[in-house]
């Protein structure tokens, strides 16, 4: 080994490793594991299958994409189609910010692979209005001030649209129950429920 090429940092790492591997320091097994994991990354292939053609039908338009089968619908919408109205709040199916409609049913786009929904009709927040004419649910969220920061709003609105189509919005309790997958950290819940009920034709 050419000693002259050992940088200070590399030297420090090497100097530190034997000490730690000898069991001095609380986190020694972790450091070794980290080093091994790092070593394995470079020898294994980067990921699963490579890009493949995927056709997504979004808001009435067909889009031909070449994406890896591991790409979620959420990332495909946001990063490949520049449809950023659909939001990412957790990427784990726990917040509802990414809710879109697939053949009229609401799904968490972060838990859905894009390849799974080929040839299905996908509706995002950008596809709800008819030109300048807001969808009644959008108009109701406006009228009832059903948001503050607005980050959860696209997901809330799509969830609400599907809920009405599902004919489950029979009363206040059912609206709350069936909207409970959409978190609003600003806590606009009373106004969200009022907006949904107004479109469902219920007095609030």
């Amino acid at each position: 080994m050419d000693v002259g090429k050992v940088t200070r940092r590399r030297f420090l790492v090497r100097a530190a490793l034997p000490t730690i591997a000898a069991g001095v320091g609380i986190g020694s097994p972790r450091l070794c594991a980290l080093a091994q994991a790092a070593a394995s990354v470079s020898v294994l292939p980067a990921s699963g299958p490579g890009p493949m053609p995927v056709t997504l039908n979004v808001n009435g338009r067909a889009h031909e994409l070449r994406i890896e089968p591991r790409v979620t619908l959420l990332d495909a919408l946001r990063e490949r189609l520049a449809l950023t109205g659909t939001k990412k709040g957790c990427d784990q199916g726990t917040c509802g910010a990414c809710t879109v409609l697939v053949d009229g049913r609401r799904v968490n786009a972060c838990l859905t692979l894009a390849v799974m929904v080929q040839r299905k009709a996908i509706t995002t927040i950008e596809g709800l209005a008819d030109g300048d004419q807001l969808h009644p649910m959008q108009a109701a969220f406006l009228a009832h001030d059903g948001f503050q920061c607005g980050y959860c709003t696209p997901g809330q609105i799509l969830s609400a649209v599907a809920l009405l189509a599902e004919k489950r919005a029979t009363d206040e309790a059912s609206v709350r129950e069936w909207m409970s997958g959409n978190i609003c950290r600003c806590g606009a819940y009373p106004n969200i429920v009022a907006a949904v009920r107004s479109v469902a034709g219920q007095p609030s």
């Binding site: 986190g27 980290l34 790092a38 609003c184 600003c186």
Partner: protein, 734 residues
């Protein structure tokens, strides 16, 4: 026609319902470089070396930045004790040690795994109490102590006062961390526009972000511009820098546009939380319900860096006796460095924790004296002209009693009558009430100002106005409020008032979106600037004015006695809640909330109600569901699957926001701030309701079903034991 109080719609509302509103992550373009921060993921360690050679060798990697790349590697809102990238030591799991800059997110992620960091783990200061032990590991060695602040307040003769009391009660309370969980995770972009380095993110204070970033890069402030995209919630959580400094560094180093998008776990690990408190308190009262003495020792976990800890603790100190006049006070408020996630600003800023103890105690005093808790509160609440524990006379406009009375009336009307509350054997209902006080604006001599420019477009009459003020709209709707105030002041239609607010280079410093202060402070600034611009126009001068509004001055507190003038304005609140407790499981639901607030003047009633209802959702989480767990410095709840945010199902159907308008002497049109107040008395009101339902007090937040059940069981055992000892006592003489 008055615009004040009208529920006019927000001008950004349409964009928010159509998906057109652009938040920081929506600004990312594929041609930008992508950054990935490498977190320490260990609570305390020496950095022995960082080897980035293999990462840099990966095609697509542009740079791996470390501490050596940061011109001035120190920052912080109050005390610059944090490094952008750690040089020698990491002090909590969220510390950043390196930043990978690569052509795309996947490459950045892979490269991050190739960076080898060698650490030697160090013993940790795992919690505030152990960090105070004499042999505790030091988080910041050069300080020689883990104590960040020890604020004392002394008033009267506490020992004599306790000796003269008819009832003296003591208890120990704890609270946990609270995660802001703003739904939009930290993200942003940076780029050069000509010579100017632009950082476009979400935050709470453009000009403070600017100050800190310019200092970190050793640049003139004029060489940097901070812009805010739409902000997806903040709640105090965006007061400290998170991704902003990383972005600025990456673009400054590479001279290329960069982007960073944190996932939820990175956001939770990487930004500060609400302080956990340990509170020991003793309250003494006379038989007639007058509380005369309160002694409190509060120890808070400040985590690894100072953030706003000292201010939070001083606030907690002045509210140790709640909103009550108190002749004898001995308060010790201590905040301690630990190897936990830093604690800092979160809606309420120390006041919710202080009230958790204070409001629980005053209810217990009432019970001990067999007096209605509302009457005991009324007897002791602050009145105009009263003196605070710090020795100053309260700012004028003290409305605590009127607010409580209104709350008691509304609650009485709406809540289930006592006789019907225990109709079901296992589902018990109970009601509770609590009062609260919270400062509006900065405290303790922290420089407080808000600056606005108003330009008029006028010929024979004033036709339009453009307001410039760098006030962050975090979702609370302040931009609309400020337009309403200017439109009202100049008798213009709302549509004729435009606002420029999201660029530090285009709008003057409003101060932060925090401390419930923008309606008051920025509201006064735009109001006064509008009047000054109109006067200029009337005098035939250019119709434009810049006004810096400064409220009545505050002063620092004496460290030993607490003497000083802490605040220039307070908000007063009272809340009644009805709960239902399943006594077999401890599961508790809040059924009804009455939340009464003196807002001075509601500039926009719909938004005031929105703030009350929204804050209550966070209050329900704080009281019952949000259980942020840390063990040995490691965060055990870094996802929403384990950190449970309230959903619409957790909120009661009956939420009654009651807005009172008892004008503040300084606020615009009498308005005072209110956005934090609903979090202040809520948890102790719930605790009182749980006690009413079950006979058991819970002393620890959050009140999880396990804790409630344990309290119920313990209360039952105490009752059985005392019944048994009574039997024993009466039977022994026989």
């Amino acid at each position: 026609m008055s615009l004040i109080g009208r529920p006019v719609a927000r001008h950004d509302a349409r964009a928010k319902v159509t998906g057109a509103a652009r938040y920081p992550a929506d600004l990312v373009r594929s041609e930008m470089l992508h950054c990935k921060a490498i977190f320490a993921h260990r609570p305390h360690a020496r950095i022995d070396g960082i080897d980035a050679a293999r990462a840099i060798a990966l095609p697509g990697v542009v740079a791996v930045l470390t501490a050596a790349d940061v011109p001035y590697n120190r920052y912080g809102l109050i005390d610059a004790d944090q490094e952008v990238l750690c040089s020698e030591r990491v002090r909590y799991v969220g510390d950043r040690v390196a930043l990978v800059v690569a052509a795309d997110p996947q490459t950045a992620e892979r490269a991050a795994k190739l960076v080898e960091v060698a650490y030697t783990d160090l013993p940790i200061a795992g919690d505030a109490l152990s960090a105070l032990e004499p042999d505790a590991p030091l988080v910041h060695e050069h300080r020689g102590t883990n104590v960040l602040l020890h604020q004392k307040i002394r008033k009267g003769d506490i020992e004599q006062a306790f000796a003269d009391c008819d009832v003296v009660l003591s208890a120990t309370f704890t609270t946990s961390w609270q995660e802001h969980a703003y739904l939009q995770p930290d993200a942003g972009i940076a780029y050069y526009e000509g010579e100017t380095l632009v950082v476009e993110t979400a935050g709470q204070w453009l000009h403070e972000d600017l100050r800190q970033i310019a200092a970190i890069l050793a640049l003139e402030e004029s060489a940097v511009a901070i812009r805010y995209a739409k902000i997806g919630g903040a709640f105090g959580g965006r007061e400290d820098l998170s991704v902003q400094a990383l972005l600025a560094l990456a673009t400054w180093k590479t001279k290329r546009p960069t982007a960073i998008v944190w996932n939820r776990e990175e956001s939770i690990v990487g930004h500060h939380k609400r302080h956990p408190f340990h509170i020991e308190t003793t309250w003494g009262a006379k038989r007639d319900g007058t509380v005369v003495a309160v002694r409190t020792r509060t120890i808070a976990d400040g985590g690894a860096y100072a953030s706003t800890s000292v201010e939070v603790l001083k606030c907690a100190a002045i509210f140790a006796q709640g909103p009550y006049r108190m002749p004898n006070v001995a308060t010790d408020a201590i905040v301690v460095y630990t190897n936990n996630v830093p604690s800092g600003a979160f809606r309420g800023f120390g006041s919710p924790q202080a009230h958790w103890a204070a409001e629980s105690m005053i209810t217990r005093i009432a019970h001990a004296l067999e007096i209605d808790p509302v009457d005991v509160r009324r007897k002791n609440l602050y009145r105009d002209g009263d003196t605070e524990a710090t020795g100053n006379v309260l700012p004028a406009g003290v409305s605590a009693i009127a607010v409580l009375d209104r709350c008691a009336q509304e609650s009485h009307r709406r809540f289930t009558p006592r006789a019907e509350r225990h109709a079901h054997a296992s589902l018990r209902r109970g009601v509770g009430i609590a009062s609260g006080i919270k400062n509006v604006g900065y405290s303790f001599g922290f420089p407080e100002q808000s600056t606005a420019t108003v330009e008029l477009i006028a010929s024979a009459r004033i036709e339009r106005a453009v307001v410039r003020i760098g006030a962050a709209d975090v979702g609370q709707g302040v931009h609309l409020i400020l337009r309403q105030i200017v439109a009202e002041t100049l008798e213009l239609a709302l549509e004729s008032v435009a606002i420029v607010s999201d660029d530090s280079a285009q709008a003057p410093n409003a101060g932060s979106a925090s401390a419930s202060r923008l309606t008051f402070m920025a509201g006064r600034a735009v109001h006064d600037a509008a009047l000054a611009a109109r006067s200029a126009w009337e005098r035939g001068e250019p119709p434009e004015a810049t006004v810096q509004y400064r409220p009545p001055a505050t002063t620092p507190l004496d460290l030993e006695t607490g003497a000083g003038t802490p605040n220039y304005c307070y908000g007063y609140a009272a809340q009644g809640v009805e709960v239902e407790v399943d006594v077999t499981t401890g599961v508790t639901r809040v059924l009804k909330i009455v939340s009464v607030h003196d807002v001075g003047r509601a500039i926009n009633r719909q938004q005031v109600e929105g703030q009350i209802e929204g804050c209550l959702a966070q209050a329900v989480g704080y009281a019952l569901t949000e259980n942020f767990k840390v063990r040995d410095g490691k965060i055990l709840t870094p996802h929403f699957s384990t950190y449970l945010l309230p959903t619409t199902l957790d909120m009661p159907t009956e939420i009654v926001p009651v807005i009172m308008e008892l004008a503040d002497p300084h606020g615009p049109y009498g308005a005072r701030g209110m956005a934090e107040m609903p979090l202040v008395p809520f948890a102790p009101a719930v605790a009182a309701a749980i006690y009413d339902a079950t006979g058991a007090w819970v002393n620890d937040l959050p009140m999880t079903p396990e804790r409630i059940l344990a309290a119920i069981t313990a209360a039952r055992e105490r009752t059985t034991a005392s019944a048994a000892s009574l039997v024993g006592a009466s039977s022994s003489p026989a």
